[in-house]
Subunit: 247 residues, 2 copies
């Protein structure tokens, strides 16, 4: 099995990390659109245009599947991506909604979704969760978490002030959906802020769960082959991948 | 006089504001590359490629001058831009260096330059200031200020923690060069942090000073015509322009 993983930049590496931990693919082709990152503050039509270009890029490889490891793309462009290829495409939004439903049995549970402006404005998670009969959903765009992660500020006073800024009037949730692939790097800070009773839903783990539940033919492979591509400076991407995936 | 003003996104509007206050042009064509913003975290070659595309865009208009209102572009791509058009091009880096020299007479003065990673890594301000015999220069990449301004966080505890994070070990400067066109929106916070003895150098005012000193034929025009273009969602850009320029 050969998979393409697409993200606007580096965030999707957290999904690759989950794939590697579970050894689900023989070969992983990662593409990060680092020359045009971030997507989360951009317009729906721009996101769709860039996503279709990513599908074209992946046509250079004979892929068995494409994983969209970017919540903003999954929220806005999955239909258009599917229309432009016959390769199966799965996205983190659908996987995240199903993972939430699998781990939270009480339909009255309080669920908080955090992500970029684009993801939150799309209401994609709310629509999916509503379909599965969850009604008690709060959403909050937390765009500052992205540059904080990119600047490696994952604890300390700036992050504390930012958590307080975003969440001071939020009811502590039963489940917190990390609807941006940067946010797993803030897992311990978020868990600490909300307390142990809050279940964190992580896009990478959700994708693994989705694959294991829906693609029963999936085998395990030791030492999958990894290739990294980006729309600028692939060397910089590879360095971050080395750090995020193996350190 | 008809001028094109180029920025990676919305930051260059602070330069437009200075131009409007001084009524230096009959017509201003603003282009923000909002579909690919920000440039400040991107690679030199990417910035050059995008900058040349902006010059091509401006060839649609009969311009008398192009002002590069983005420090990252001015630092990396001004030569390449000049090679691709006969239209005069001026950038905020050169203007900022000259404005500093005009207002700070003591060559031993302590000068602090703050900007994006790209601008600071370019060393463009240091090179320019060294040529004018300033030797006592500190630089600091302060990339988090950009999303803070875009999220309209221009005071309060997150900004206080961020100021402390970046400047806790910095000697208070005689001059502070705001080498990113977002930063004028943090002027009062920065002035407050460093105290009244620190002179702030603002890219927009520096451009006005540069024009008045070097283009003696420049006249004043009442009610200049303004046109806004962007690579995505021009309506969103126009709304921000309305807010930043007139409120």
């Amino acid at each position: 099995m050969k998979v393409g993983v697409f993200d606007s930049g580096i965030g999707g590496l957290t999904v690759v990390k989950s794939l590697l931990e579970h050894q689900l693919f023989e070969e992983i082709i990662y593409f990060g659109d680092t020359a045009r990152v971030p997507y989360g503050s951009k317009d729906k039509n721009t996101i769709i245009r860039y996503a279709i270009e990513a599908v074209e890029f992946f046509k250079n490889f004979e892929l068995d599947m494409i994983i969209v490891a970017c919540n903003s793309v999954s929220a806005y462009a999955l239909t258009e991506m599917k229309e432009s290829t016959i390769c199966p495409i799965i996205g983190v939004v659908e996987a995240g909604v199903l993972a939430t439903s699998n781990s939270i049995k009480n339909k009255d549970a309080n669920i908080l979704v955090i992500g970029t402006h684009a993801t939150i404005n799309s209401k994609a998670y709310e629509i999916g969760l509503n379909r599965l009969n969850f009604q008690n959903i709060q959403t909050k765009a937390t765009p500052l978490f992205v540059p904080l992660v990119e600047e490696e500020i994952i604890n300390g006073s700036i992050l504390d002030a930012t958590l307080q800024h975003y969440f001071h009037d939020i009811t502590h949730p039963d489940a917190l959906i990390l609807a941006c692939t940067h946010f797993p790097l803030l897992s311990s800070a978020l868990q600490n802020y909300f307390g142990e009773q809050t279940t964190l839903i992580h896009s990478g783990d959700a994708i693994v769960e989705y694959l294991e539940n829906n693609f029963l033919f999936i085998k395990q492979y030791k030492n999958p082959k990894l290739q990294f591509f980006s729309s600028e400076n692939p060397e910089a991407l590879r360095k971050i991948a080395q750090k995020w995936l193996y350190e």
